[in-house]
Every structure is written in C-alpha cells, then in structure tokens.
C-alpha cells in the first residue's frame, strides 16, 4: 500500500493541482464577462453567484473541466447511445479521420526510417552523405510547409488521406532513423566477432544479431514517432478548410469562438496520443519480455 502511494501519490497530487488551477483559472478568466453581463442587467453579483456564472457560460474564455467533459460525452458516448456514432457531429468520426492518417503516416514513416537506417549502417557513402541531411531536415519547420504540400498534392490529383499521411511520415521518419542507426550499431565487437567465428553471412548477421539487438531502440523511437505523427495529422487537417478531423474541429472552433469545442477536441487528441503511445509501450513490454531483454 505504501509502495503504491509512493509511486501514485505524487502524480495524483500534481493532477489534482492541475484541476484546481484549471478551475481557478476559469473563474478568473470568465469573471469579466460575468460582471459585464450583470452590469447590463443592472444587478450586483455575490461571490457565489459569480462563480456559478463563470462555470456555465456559453462561450467562456476558459471552459471549466466539467463543461469540457460534458461536451466530450455529448459528442462521443451520447452519440453512440443514440446510434449515431459516426455522424459528422461526433468526435468519434473526427478522431477516426485523424487516427487513420496518423497510422498511415506512422507506418510509411517507420518503413522509410528503417530502410534509410539499414542503408546508412551498411553503406559508407550513404552514411556520410545522407545522415547530415536527415538531421538538417528536422530543423526545417515542416509543419509550416504543410499547407503547401496539401495544396500541391491536391493539384496533382492526390487528395484525402495521403497528403496528410505524407506530413505525418516526414515527422515520424526522423526518430526512427536516428534510433535504428544507433540500434543497428549497438552490437559490440565481441558479438560481431562471435558471428564471424560462426562463419555467419552478412544476412545472418543482420537478422540474428543486429536486428534483434536494435529492438529496444526501435520501440523508444516508435513512441516518439507516433506522437509526432499525430501532430502532423492534426496540422495537416488545418489547410483543407475545416472539413473533418480533430485539426478541423480546432480550426472550426477558433473561427466561431467555440472554446468548449476547441478544448474537447484538444483533450480527445491528447487521449488519442496517450492511447497510441501506451499501446506501443504495451507491445514493447511483451516483445522485449519474449526476447529476454527485460526481466
């Protein structure tokens, strides 16, 4: 019990503190509007009335957690109960759009990343000429170019999922390349010499030594790549003009001042990120345990 509290207690405290701050912030930020309304109605507000008002505004500056929670329930669980889980107003529908391009971009990025890493490890010229550019590529704020990529690919006739996935791919290939190059080079001289004494071919060396020993590195990079891929998908949805997806919900909310909608989209995106990264962590645990790399 004490051990559990030692680990969970501090985290719980921080989370509760965040909620307290959130409520305090929404009272403080929403108060001016409440005063304004009261003045026009010609009434004095008591403190309790003021707080009650800041908790229930239509377009608050900072919606309190329970309003956001209610909005999320209204657009997800409630929709499912009423059998309209995939209507255009449902956040599930928008999350699905974002999720699908995130996953496609993630798969493409991981594939590209692993291929590049293998090339870099096995080819000296590639190592010297491409590796610096891979690093430099990340100092270019690709997210800034996202609208252009979307518009140009649309003009060539590629639309829908793929342009968004391309942006996700660009963001997610980098951590995979860096992690896999490190991982594929992680076997030390002793191990490589051992393979040589067994007369292993290059192929065998790759499949039986280098690839297995790169797994811990791979999973760490996959987690970063997944988070980056989601960001890419969300930003990729902005220039398509608020059609569908969590990014479109953010943009639509900011056009019409629907703060509750923005916050609910944001929280759902956060939950999605947490779920995806958590899933990779789970796979990592199982795989590394089967491989005998963790106890």
């Amino acid at each position: 019990m004490k051990a559990v509290w030692y680990r969970i207690g501090p985290i719980l405290t921080v989370v509760i503190a965040i909620f307290v701050l959130w409520y305090a912030g929404s009272v403080a930020l929403n108060a001016p509007w409440a005063y304004d309304k009261a003045k026009r109605a010609g009434v004095e507000l008591s403190t309790s009335e003021l707080i009650a008002d800041t908790m229930n505004q239509k377009k608050p500056k900072l919606p309190p957690p329970h309003q956001v929670g209610a909005e999320i329930w209204k657009t997800t669980g409630d929709m499912v109960v009423r059998g309209r889980a995939f209507s255009k107003r449902s956040l599930l529908y928008h999350s699905w759009i974002t999720l699908s391009s995130t996953l496609l971009g993630f798969v493409l990025g991981t594939g590209l990343g692993i291929a590049l890493a293998v090339g870099i490890v096995y080819n000296r010229t590639m190592d010297m000429s491409i590796m610096p550019w891979v690093i430099a590529s990340q100092t270019i704020p690709i997210l800034a170019i996202a609208p252009m990529i979307i518009v140009v690919l649309n003009a060539v006739g590629i639309s829908g999922l793929l342009p968004k996935a391309v942006i996700s791919m660009y963001l997610s290939f980098f951590p995979v390349v860096v992690g896999m190059v490190k991982g594929l080079r992680s076997p030390d001289h002793m191990q490589l010499d051992q393979m040589k004494t067994w007369n292993a071919s290059g192929n065998q060396e790759f499949w039986k030594l280098r690839l297995p020993s790169s797994m811990p590195y791979l999973f760490t990079s996959l987690k970063i790549a997944m988070a980056a891929s989601l960001v890419g998908a969300i930003v990729g949805e902005l220039p398509t003009g608020a059609v569908a997806g969590l990014g479109a919900r953010l943009l639509g909310g900011s056009y019409y001042g629907q703060t509750i909608q923005i916050w609910s989209a944001l929280l759902v995106a956060a939950a999605l990120a947490a779920a995806l990264v958590g899933l990779i962590g789970l796979v990592q645990n199982v795989v590394l345990k089967r491989m005998g790399m963790v106890r």
């Binding site: 010297m128 491409i130 988070a227």
Partner: protein, 279 residues
C-alpha cells in the same frame, strides 16, 4: 530530353564522387564535402527534373526561380523574419526555457513534487501541444504576443523534464564530497549540480529550438497581422505564388539550422568536459 540526360549524368557523377570521397580516409574536409556535394547534386537534379518534364511552376518551381524570387523580395522576407522569428519565436523561447529552468530548480528541492512532475511532464511532452495554438491566439490577440505564448507552452515541458533529470545527474560520491566541504545548498547547486546538469539542459534547449520555430509559424495559421512567415506561407499558397513560399521555406530552414547550430556551439563551449564533446 537534354535536361533529363543532364540530370542523370549530374546525379551519377555526384554519387560517384561521393563514393570515392567516402572511401578516402576520414578527414574534416571529406566529412564536410560529402554532404555538400550530395545537396548540390539534389538541387541540380531538381532543376533538371522541373525543366525536363516542364513541371508547372504552381506545382514545383525550379531552384533558380526560387533564388530569383528570393533576391527580389528580401524586403518582405526580412519583415516576416523579424515578426515571426525575433518577436514570436525568440522571445517565447527565452521566456519558456527560462521559466522551465526556474521551475525545475524550485521543484528540485521537493522530491515529492519531482516524482509527480516528471511522469506528468513526460506525458504532456508527448501530447499535441500545438493544438493549444487557437486558444492562445484567442487569449492574447493576433500579434506576436500570442505566438510567443504558443512557443512558451511548447518548449516548457521538454525543457522542464530535461532540467529536472539533469539536476539528478550527480552521483552520491560527488554530493557527499560537497557535504564534507560543508557546502551550502546554493554552493553545491552552482558549483556541482548545475554544471553536471548542463548536457541535459542543452539537450532540452536543442529540442526547444525546432519546437519554437514550428510553434511560432503554425500559430500564425490561426490568425495573425498581415506579416509573418506562417501568414505569408498560407496566403501565398492560396495565390499559387509557390516561389515565394519556397523562399520562405529557405529562410525557415536557414534560421532553423542556424538556431540549432548556435545552441550546439554554445553547448560545445560550456560542456567541453563531457565525453560526448571530447571524441
């Protein structure tokens, strides 16, 4: 046709040269020359592909066209640079990293907070924070203040997590030694723990450079005055002035690399004693 052949020849020649150079003994010169030759080859190939296949400039402008556009619109580019990089990204970067650094030092005194903040900070660092941009634009208005705010939020958590980890990087022996010297908390912080934390702090600072630029530019998509790199990119795409977009991208790439490179140089000067800098 002639362009296509030129392109293929240029590519083969460049790659051949690089293979030869890579098989020479590794010196400083070859290590610098190989990536540069690769980059130049790519640009030549790009030019040849655009000319050879007569790709319309609204899809992909040739490098020469981008360079020409860059030369005539330096005024606009400079204005955007000041608005986005200096006012938005840099001020946010300084505020965000500074605040995270101070918070980390405050948190460091309480192990309870440390154990709570590290997992939460790691979690938040993985979230799509960029989604906060529309909210912050709503709160702080369209001008650079809101962009700086987005940058602050984006760089805060990576920086915090790295600094807190760095402050734990000393081992028992070193801290015990400080105690035997009867060093006060402030003394051991300044003379031992901060220097030891520097590699971690610089790691955070480097991650934050790219985040700062991305934050400042993307925040402009949600509303901005009529200048700024993000504004220019999104409006020029609408006008199909892709050469101007690419000119902005060149600026962003150069600024991003310079920013990162500057921090890396500073790191080299500050953490010269660390094994990763000596090799």
């Amino acid at each position: 046709m002639i362009w296509a052949i030129t392109g293929i020849i240029a590519w083969l020649a460049g790659w051949r040269l690089n293979v030869w150079l890579a098989n020479q003994p590794k010196t400083r010169a070859t290590r610098l020359a190989v990536p540069i030759i690769f980059g130049v080859t790519l640009i030549v190939l790009w030019e040849c592909v655009v000319r050879g296949f007569e790709i319309s400039p609204v899809l992909l402008p040739a490098p020469t066209m981008i360079a020409a556009r860059f030369a005539v619109s330096t005024g606009i580019l400079w204005e955007d640079f000041v608005q986005t990089v200096i006012k938005g990204a840099l001020s946010g970067y300084v505020m965000g990293c500074g605040a995270a650094f101070l918070t980390a030092i405050a948190v460091d005194r309480f192990p309870f907070l440390q154990r709570g903040l590290l997992p939460v900070g790691n979690f938040v660092a993985a979230l799509p924070i960029i989604g906060m941009a529309p909210i912050l634009v709503m709160w702080f208005g369209f001008d650079w203040q809101s962009k700086a705010a987005v940058v602050v939020v984006m760089v805060f958590f990576p920086m915090l997590v790295n600094t807190v980890q760095g402050l734990q990087a000393t081992d028992h022996m070193q801290r015990d030694l400080m105690r035997t010297y009867a060093a006060s908390y402030a003394q051991s912080l300044i003379k031992l723990r901060l220097p030891a934390a520097m590699p971690f702090i610089f790691n955070g600072l480097k991650i934050a450079t790219t985040l700062a630029l991305i934050g400042a530019i993307v925040a402009e998509f949600f509303g901005s005055p009529i200048k700024g790199m993000g504004f220019r990119i999104s409006t020029s795409v609408g006008q199909l002035a892709l050469d101007l977009v690419w000119a902005e991208i060149v600026v962003a790439a150069v600024v991003g690399s310079a920013f990162y490179g500057g921090v890396a140089l500073l790191e080299k000067a500050v953490t010269f004693w660390h094994p990763s800098q000596r090799g």
